[in-house]
Symmetry: C2
Subunit: 248 residues, 2 copies
């Protein structure tokens, strides 16, 4: 009996949670699906734009790249600093800006600092697939990970490499949903699941205690933030391929 | 009224929690007291040896340094790999080995990998004081931090830079005890306090789910581990000065 349990555990793929891009190099991501998580707000906005019919979303780290690619592809350029659209770009980082009538059939070039950095690190380290996750597409992410049956890395984008709460809570939501399908021996995952379990019924009031909330709420973005912690309101699966995120 | 609260907050020193030595460089530790936390088992053993009358404890990262310094000072050398005393050293890492009749008046040279690395990083980055913390000396650490009234960094030693649960739980125990005296705007601290609050009544059963427990319990160290999460059983304050930890 014990042997059977052990054998069953051995056959399950592994799942690890990485709390910051600064810790990614400690993990073997080769042959793994890496889920890029940037809840406030990049990966929530990406899911929303694709859900509303965007052809693809190109994530870039720099403003100059954003302008150059946007110009070349005749695409929408987007990015914010301190709650305002960056000079030279057309739109902001709010998911609310990317409703169907506006974004359908278009390409969005989005500047994000934390998420894009992690995405490129994952690719350089040999990830077999990179997808993006956030509460708006929670179920799509979970369904895909279970269906693929490969090793998984839940990658929190953090804030300038500092641990953040909201990305960890999303990792916890994924773990709570899919843990029976994976071998999980990782304190970060144990903590993430506990934190999500502890706060899932008061997520909105709890995230108001986080450092990121304080930064963004100062710019009047409470409605955005509430949307970004709402499950399955843009339930699609963004997959990275040939430099862009798109639906398969 | 609001202004008064704000002014009071401004006057309180800051407190941050660092979840891994790999994230230390993101924080300004200058003019701060850095608490080195390595619950399983280095900082628990350090507190215990000093509580039982050791003159000082010299933390070193390498085995060769340990042997050389031990020989020069005619001191006790200690270190383990995979649950066994390292060849060339005299004793292990267990706090149980350092009872009063054995350690009183002696110098202990202790090899630790995770904790020593963090300690040296803190010094290089300009920490004003470095102390060590663990459940056995919880109250001594808390009392000192409140009494000094300086900025505080709670530094988790982690495991080869990976987040670990037990160091985070100790950070949470400190925060729960002293938070009213500090300005805390840090998601790591928010999480640490939550995790401690959630598990403080079942600490022993909870840590049995952690990755470090699984590593060490395989070597039959359950009794050690239980001691290492017991508060105030070696309630002294190890302070780093001139290359060694000693009581002031």
């Amino acid at each position: 009996m014990l042997y059977a349990i052990f054998a069953a555990m051995q056959n399950k793929p592994s799942l690890y949670t990485i709390l910051s891009p600064g810790l990614l190099n400690l993990y073997d991501v080769s042959d793994s699906i890496v889920v890029i998580i940037d809840v406030f707000r990049a990966t929530s906005t990406i899911a929303t734009a694709l859900y509303n019919g965007a052809e693809k979303v190109i994530p870039v780290s720099g403003v100059e790249d954003c302008i150059a690619i946007g110009s070349k592809l005749n695409a929408i350029t987007a990015g914010e600093r301190d709650g305002k659209v960056i000079e030279g770009l057309q739109h902001g980082n709010s998911p609310a800006e990317y409703y169907r009538e506006f974004i359908e059939g278009k390409t969005l070039v989005l500047t994000t600092t934390n998420g894009t950095k992690l995405l490129h690190m994952a690719l350089e380290n040999g990830a077999s697939e990179v997808i993006t996750g956030s509460f708006p597409n929670l179920s799509a992410v979970c369904g895909h990970l279970v269906q693929q049956g490969k090793n998984v890395i839940l990658g929190c984008s953090a804030w300038k490499n500092r641990f953040n709460m909201e990305d960890t809570l999303f990792a916890g939501a994924v773990i709570e949903s899919i843990k029976e399908h994976f071998t999980i021996q990782c304190d970060s995952s144990l903590m993430a699941e506990d934190m999500y379990h502890l706060h899932k019924r008061d997520l909105y009031s709890f995230v108001q205690r986080t450092s990121h909330w304080h930064r963004l709420a100062a710019y009047g973005l409470e409605k955005d933030l509430q949307y970004c912690i709402t499950a399955d309101v843009a339930n699609v699966l963004p997959v990275y391929k040939d430099g862009a995120l798109a639906l398969q």
